[in-house]
Amino acid sequence: MASLACPRCLRRSLQDLETTATAIRPQRAAFSTSPSLSANPPKKKAVVAKPSTRQGSALRLTKNTRATNTRPPAVGERKELRKKVVLSNTNALEVLGLNDLSKENLSSDALHALEAKVMGFGDTSVDRLRALKAFKPTQGWNLFRRPASLVRKETTHLLGDIEWVEAGQGSRTVRKVLYGERGSGKSVLQLQALAMASLKGWFVIHIPEAMDLTIAHTSYQPVTTPGGPTRYAQAHFACKLLRNIRDANNHLLSNLRISGEHDIPGQLKPGASLLGLVDVGVKEPARAWPVWQILWEELTLPSAQSKGGPRPPIMFTMDGIDHIMRLSAYLNAEAQPIHAHDLLLPRHFIELLSGRETLPNGGMVLGAVSESNRAASHTLDHALARNEAIQNELTPPAWDPWVKYDKNVQDAMEGVGVQRLQGLSKEEARGIMEYYARSGLIRKAVTSGLISEAWTLAGGGIIGEIEKGTVKARV
């Protein structure tokens, strides 16, 4: 490449200078002799202020204001959304060949053959369970096309209990508390018990959250008996409960007639149906508790004595009974806390559970307690451990003489059956995971490896954790 410099004077080529100068110097005539100073000096660029980073002179706060084009939620709207129970998901696949729990397969033998399989609930069952508020929003019903549940070993046992009660023709009652860790299926087992009992024509009563009875969020009125202790009725809660019962047991209530002589509030004639009686309590909270008492008296009339039709066995269940095994948040007139056993409705359940009050037509009293995130009631904990040890013919743990136990709870839990719910077996885990797959919620092939993995990660087959790990988790 030729050099641009002149070889004689070692200066750079003029032409090259000219060409480069044009780019950097202001334009002027190339051979002008006039001094460059006489020409107008090139205009200096006007100094432009550097734009500041902040736009506008005032601090804008509008950016921080919340958009108000949406209306604020109405009173109770958010709670309604939180408590909403969705029982169907149209995006889930319909499981072909999913059988319903029905009268035909409700025998121990038939159900035993169906163990580790998923069974659906029929429309009638669903309506009744929904009326009882037995479905909870925390359970995964909203993932599947229609409500169904796994038949596990414990379900068959419960059906065995139901059959045992029926075989006794009124002389037998099962009193039991289910307990187990979170997600182990206690509430769903209660729900299955309610569904099976309802199919068998039992009268079903369910209190979905015992907490609602004791946290002092519903009205209470003292009821004094002459010479006796003061107890407290919860009119508004009783009213709500009566409504649930009426909706769930409509078919039974409309066929049963009032048989005894009662001081019936309202315009009811002696031979009226029990449905009319319950309606009185549903309409007026002030009458709900007396109506509950009369209803109970009527239902527990021995069938042989009742003129208003044979009385059915009763299934009475309550979830979260830890809350009624301690002092409640209600205060008596002296501002001292009231024991939950002095509230009439929980007391009624406790009387039945402890066996102090009997069910002449037979029945089942079923409580459920979680082992995690629950109200502190160390007497209940101890009683559960004791009863389980006695049941399994082991040495029961002794009552610690240095600990102050709750005498009410001690007495109530004496002789109550307990059942600790543990994880599923591998076969049951296979049954439920295959159901997930058939509902389109697991895309992978359900192999024994996958089942083992899910079972182990779920703390040994805790069903709630299996669901969480396989269906609800999105990685």
């Binding site: 002092a216 969020h217 519903t218 009205s219 209470y220 009125q221 003292p222 407290y232 948040a329 209600y330 205060l331 008596n332 007139a333 002296e334 501002a335």
Partner: protein, 119 residues
Amino acid sequence: MVFIFGVNFLEGALVNRSLRSFYGIGPKVCEGLMARFHIHKTARIRDLSDKQINNMAGELSTMTLENDLRRQVQDNIKRLRDMGSYRGRRHAMGLPVRGQRTRTQILTARKLNRVERKT
């Protein structure tokens, strides 16, 4: 609107909050009052029965509340002042009464400690 002790309360107002709006009823007194008439924690004014409202009004009228209570407090301070006690003098000077330091942090004393105490 429900009229209790000279004040009209909205139907939807919490009983707990309504009662505590009176000078002389704080959380503890309110709890005792509500327990006495078997009113639960989350009750609203509309949930009260006539009997409960009447009983409550009767009970409130026997209590020293509002201006009577304010006057009582002022009288107590005045008595201290008239005796010429140290506490009375400190009230008159608007300074802390119970031996607190005065170098800093006496805003509350300046606000409250008067012979004619306002609140």
